[in-house]
């Protein structure tokens, strides 16, 4: 059930009606059942897996809290082991198996298994692990009610692609739930609509070009085609993921929950460091708190800082998918972050926003997307070869695609400078209604409805 389908809107409407029409005591059960139904519509076979992880981590949380320090560590390791074990098996087994097979001189499929990746496993295992680590660190009390914990893991707005919500944020809303205010509801409606527009009118339009290009790179030779194909993917992945996140945050608001911001106009960043402060912020925060800082962060000298940065980004890359392309993508960003940090040591002031720094950062991000989108390393090399070695060919972007990108840029720039969304929320109802109608109109005229293009991050 994709977020941009009629079925989903009927589902969310039914959930909202049931949720608010029910006595308070039933509401979390309604959310829990709705979340399992939502997950089950994808593949109900994986519900037992979700339940297993829920039971394991709920129990581990309770045991960690009650136990002495030595046993606490044991339960922590056991819980993390189970989470990483499931994640490792479902997501990385075939990747490891193919590499071992190749090293052994066998065909890559020698040890392969027909493993189906459970939807959202990367997200909900990270969320589980953060809870367990927080309980172990004493930053979060163990949750007593298993229903509360189950809801934390499977809450449908963010179950399959985040944002990765921290336990304390989620339980603050759940345990002290208050009905959404008029402002929450208005924001929720706007965020859902803006998310839908990002997905249908922007991401899916650019996805058509990106798919055309990456589906057959050889058929579109030349630098212009390559840059336009990669640019299209850059647009697709941002609007797709940010659109999903906006919808998730909006839906949560309608249900009285407050998710953290996940994107803050990343393509307006003036450095890669700035980019990562704006892109998939909930993952960046997770990686910082549960990987980079535990590795030592920047506390043990320059070399160790660069190593930790690189390791964090390499693992962050691998989190996205089991392939060398993602490892390289992570390493590429790790290297850029390290270089910026190194250069920063010689600068007195932080990087200032200029058109040049913005364009340069955007171009660097686009180069990284080549590894993210390409089928394999061979295709990555092929695309990069075209981008930097061949200035001929024709762009795949039509004029109106360029217009769409410029429109997005203008909206983002105005938001960056004037925070128009916050102003809009204070305007009279009629003005907000007309603005909402304009967003609906953009979906009506540009929204892709002839093909169903899945959300990119659903595969992770």
């Amino acid at each position: 059930m994709l977020f941009n389908t009629v079925q989903f809107f009927l589902f969310i409407a039914a959930v909202l009606v049931l949720f608010y029409a029910s006595p308070r005591g039933f509401r979390k059960y309604i959310l829990l059942v709705a979340s399992y139904v939502f997950y089950g519509t994808w593949n109900w076979h994986f519900i037992p897996l979700l339940l297993t992880l829920t039971v394991v981590d709920y129990t581990a949380g309770r045991l960690i809290e009650k136990s002495d320090p030595r046993r606490r560590k044991l339960f922590l390791i056991l819980s993390l082991g189970v989470n990483l074990g499931f994640l490792g098996f479902f997501k990385y087994y075939n990747f490891l198996a193919s590499n071992v097979s190749l090293l052994a001189g066998k065909p890559s499929t020698w040890l392969a298994l027909n493993v189906i990746l459970p939807l959202g496993i990367s997200f909900h295992t990270f969320q589980s692990m953060s809870y367990i680590v927080d309980v172990y660190r004493g930053e979060q009390e163990a949750i007593l009610d298993p229903v509360d914990y189950a809801l934390f893991i499977c809450f449908f707005p963010q179950l399959v692609a985040g944002p990765i919500v921290r336990a304390r944020e989620f339980f603050k809303d759940l345990l002290h739930w208050q009905p959404p205010t008029a402002d929450d509801i208005s924001r929720g409606i706007f965020q859902m609509t803006i998310g839908l527009a990002k997905k249908m009118a922007f991401a899916d339009q650019f996805a058509k070009i990106a798919n055309l290009y990456f589906g057959n790179v050889a058929a579109h030779p030349g630098g212009a085609a390559a840059w336009s194909g990669v640019f299209s993917f850059g647009m697709q992945i941002y609007f797709d993921f940010a659109g999903y996140t906006d919808m998730a945050i909006g839906m949560a608001k309608l249900l009285g929950f407050h998710f953290p911001e996940n994107f803050r106009r990343p393509y307006l960043a003036c450095s890669i460091t700035d980019f990562w402060h704006r892109w998939h912020m909930s993952l960046s925060r997770w990686l910082r708190d549960y990987l980079y800082i535990p590795l030592g962060g920047n506390r043990h000298g320059r070399v160790s800082t660069y190593r930790n940065l690189m390791l964090t980004m390499l693992l962050g890359g691998l989190w996205h998918g089991a392939s060398w392309n993602f490892v390289i993508w992570g390493g590429y960003h790790g290297a850029l972050l390290a270089i910026e940090r190194l250069i920063g040591r010689f600068r007195r002031q932080p990087v200032r926003w200029t058109v040049a720094s913005w364009l340069f950062t955007f171009a660097l991000a686009l180069v990284g997307w080549v590894f993210f989108r390409a089928e394999d390393l061979h295709q990555s090399r092929q695309v990069l070869g075209q981008m930097f070695g061949n200035w001929h060919g024709h762009t795949l972007l039509t004029r109106w695609h360029t217009g769409l990108a410029l429109l997005a840029l203008a909206v983002a720039a105005i938001e960056e400078k004037f925070d128009w969304f916050e102003h809009l929320m204070t305007w009279p109802l009629a003005v907000r209604a007309v603005t909402l109608a304009l967003i609906f109109f953009v979906i009506e005229v540009f929204g892709v409805t002839d093909v169903a293009i899945p959300f990119v991050y659903f595969q992770f």
Binding site: K28, L175, A182, I189, A433, E444
Partner: protein
């Protein structure tokens, strides 16, 4: 903070007055936004200028061009006009039909469009002949007077919302939507009929790609369309050499058959029978019935003709047809059925360019036969009729 064993959901309900106000405001916001969207869509696509900018080669653009051309023809041709409707197989040449006009007294005008069916013809006729009095006859071309369900159902053909997009009224929506058998199609139809931007999406995107080019082409098409269609000459390709073994559906294709010929022969002519569900009969009863109803108390006759069935004729015994809606219509006072065998002489491979359509030679002969058959059915023209020998279209 030690978490409570129960969440806030378990605590007594908080006062809900402010909550209700919040939801009322949200409902009002959504209602106003949807109303504003309808107004915006209406301003741009219903009463706005966009209709005049439609891509002339698109379904909606073709509909507009034919409608305009035939509205002008009504002014030019006088009292004995006959409008013909059909899909791409109704491909006679009006210029050839006009040559017979001195003998028959009737002008045949082509108001059909490729890929259309009775649902589109109804909406076309409604705007083409709002008083149901402008034509001596309406000719509806069908492939069979009996009802045969095929794998592809006219009832589920969503192209109507594209063809007739500019002419669908809000009051049409319930009937149009419910006339589609599947819920998916109903949803598509509802969305496109309510918000025309959906129906025009591809057109708008293409327009935005190069607005000056579109404007120039629209201007060109508006000026030249009547002449282009009048002077149109079809392909001279034939299907000579085509044979079909109907017991096995094995096709012997003509030597050097093109992919298009192979495709149309395989998918349309040599198609295997589909289960007979009565869907076609229901569709015809509804939409052809509506056309007939429009002319119930009018001087205009509704004539059904059976088109030439193909380069090779499918045997009748392939399908046991369960109904014959059009034969049933013939009992009504203003409905006439053409001689079912009137065009059988055209059912030869040398007169067809592919598995569906006649070629230049076939169309030329069909034009004359059609005019003669319509004239035979209608009898002598109106007493006040006068030939228009110097009409520019006749040259």
């Amino acid at each position: 903070m030690q978490p409570d064993s129960s969440s806030a959901f378990d605590s007594p309900a908080a006062p809900t007055g402010s909550g209700l106000r919040a939801f009322r405001e949200a409902a009002l916001l959504l209602i106003l936004a949807l109303a504003a969207l309808l107004v915006l869509d209406g301003l741009v696509f219903r009463i706005g200028p966009y209709k005049k900018l439609l891509e002339p080669d698109s379904t909606a653009g073709q509909f507009e061009l034919v409608l305009r051309r035939e509205q002008e023809a009504q002014r030019e041709y006088g009292d004995n006009l006959v409008a013909t409707f059909g899909d791409s197989r109704m491909s006679y040449y009006p210029r050839e039909a006009a040559k017979v006009e001195p003998q028959t007294g009737y002008y045949l005008r082509q108001a059909g469009l490729a890929g259309t069916n009775a649902r589109v013809w109804y909406y076309m006729l409604r705007d083409l002949d709002p008083t149901a009095s402008r034509y001596r006859a309406i000719v509806l071309a069908v492939n069979d007077f009996d009802d045969e369900d095929q794998a592809y159902q006219d009832a589920d053909d969503l192209r109507v919302v594209h063809y007739a997009a500019a002419h669908l009224r809000l009051s049409d929506i319930p009937e149009l939507v419910l006339s589609f058998p599947s819920w998916t199609s109903r949803w598509e139809a509802l969305r496109s009929a309510l918000l025309k931007g959906y129906a025009y999406q591809a057109d708008i995107q293409e327009f935005l790609d190069n607005p000056p080019k579109r404007r120039a082409y629209v201007q060109l098409a508006n000026g030249g369309y009547p002449h282009w269609t009048w002077d149109f000459v079809d392909s001279t390709k034939t299907l000579e050499g085509l044979a079909i073994d109907w017991s096995t559906f094995k096709v012997t294709f003509p030597p050097n058959a093109t992919p298009d010929q192979i495709d149309t022969i395989t998918n349309f002519l040599a198609r295997r029978p589909a289960p007979q569900t009565g869907t076609m009969a229901a569709f015809r009863r509804h939409w052809m019935g509506k056309i007939i109803d429009r002319y119930r108390n009018s001087r205009t006759k509704v004539i059904f003709i059976r088109l030439p069935r193909g380069a090779v004729v499918r045997p009748d015994n392939l399908v046991k047809k369960q109904s014959a809606t059009i034969r049933d219509f013939a009992r009504l006072p203003n409905v006439l059925l053409a001689n079912e065998h009137a065009f059988e002489e055209l059912e030869h491979p040398e007169l067809f360019k592919d598995g569906l359509h006649m070629n230049d030679k076939g169309n030329t002969r069909f034009s004359v036969l059609l005019s003669q058959e319509v004239a035979r059915l209608l009898g002598p023209p109106a007493p006040n009729w006068q030939a228009l020998p110097d009409h520019p279209r006749d040259k």
